[in-house]
């Protein structure tokens, strides 16, 4: 299944400066593995050393948070959009 993964601005530097990457996958876990397979640098930004998705990074399939679906096992269908949404803090001073 071809799915689009949208890369957020702070992480684009580690994904060949691309806004989105198309990967072949049947689940969210497979899609992220394919993505970090292509861009090794992304891995430490998405996963902690114990291999879990970092808690300041959320992953959505279309507009649903995978934490409330089947997490990594969430199935994806042709044409779905996966969004990686990290927390950003910017605002006032810098």
């Amino acid at each position: 299944m071809a799915v689009k993964v949208i890369i957020p601005t702070p992480l684009r530097a580690y994904a060949g400066k691309q806004e989105s990457v198309e990967v072949q996958a049947a689940t969210v876990g497979e899609a992220l593995a394919a993505l970090t397979g292509k861009f090794a640098e992304l891995k430490k930004h998405l996963y902690s050393d114990d291999g879990r998705l970092r808690s300041f990074v959320n992953v959505y399939v279309n507009d649903e948070d995978i934490r409330y679906l089947q997490k990594d096992q969430t199935a994806v269908r042709e044409g779905d959009t996966i969004s990686i949404v990290p927390s950003i803090a910017g605002g006032a001073r810098d």
Binding site: P8, A40, D65, A89
Partner: protein, 397 residues
Amino acid sequence: MATKTGIPAGPAMTKPGVTLSKEEVMRYSRHLIMPEVGMEGQLKIKQAKVLCIGTGGLGAPLGLYLAAAGVGRIGLVDFDVVDTTNLQRQVLFGTSDVGRPKTEAAAERLRNLNPDIRIDTFETQLTSANALELFKDYDIIVDGTDNFPTRYLVNDACVITGKPNVYGSIFRFEGQITVFGYPGGPCYRCLYPEPPPPGLVPSCAEGGVLGVLPGIVGTIQAAETLKLIIGKGEPLIGRLLLFDALAMKFRELKLRKNPECPVCGEHPTLTKLIDYAEFCGVRGEEGPTTVTNVPEITPKELKTRLDRGDDIYILDVREPHEYQICNINGHLIPLGELSKRVHELDSSREIVAHCKSGKRSAEAVEFLRGAGFRKISSLKGGILGWSDEVDPTVPKY
């Protein structure tokens, strides 16, 4: 969970006796003739009390629109002074305000815009010690800060005091906006239980920000605040709005209340404010380097050794657009590309890595030491330090 009710903490209905003067009727006439606001809405706005955390990029449009709309009492919390780099986006301030406390300059501008409202200024940093006391007098808190410790502090204090938190944050050309802490709705910790470790996500100071972006995001926060006050429309509760100014696209994601949330969940473990610097991994004053224990060289030492003719290879780990602003003839390999371009470097030569302020070069040195480089150090204070100590003709950015 969208709702059409008014804010519970604010004026559910207008107090008897609160009216608009003839001048106010004139000033707010474009609201008054609109049925969604009308006299009832405008009187709610007049009685509303909103606390703005941060008077920078987001706080500027927010403060301007809330004051213009006639929000009766606006609190401004900021400990910073206006500097030249703020003027690219912080439209509350003019060139003559450089060096003035932000709260003072902001209050003057807002009072000039609308003399009928009350502006409270708090020239202080929001802390665990003062947050609950500060929030007490306001109905709605608007978070326009720039750092993770304050964002978690604002969130927790809002949940504890039961006040909605109109949230906006920005990075480069991308923004996130939502309403947290509304009773029954999710909070910031439901979305992000923990902050990123320092150094993993670049800050705005490194990443930059399109000047108009906080204008758009702060204006959306102002719109959400006014909607909460008048109790009309569909507030951004349980919805995270993502905005990308380059693509000029808005997207919306569902936010859910996490039943296991430590602060707003069914069994909260966090019922009072904590040490947020500690929580976010910032120990004491935030230093220029987060990677510690890498060998460093000061700009003066480096200059002396270069002048003496020592063979030192300068490695610049910034981005190409930063190199265009200023450089000291280093070999450019951006930090993000270092692992795949490491073969360009000769580990037998002495290497000094530098970035803007010393943070990225420390990471680079740590990485290269792991890759077997031994004669390598990081330029202390980066190119900014070089400009301060060695060559003032190098522009600072």
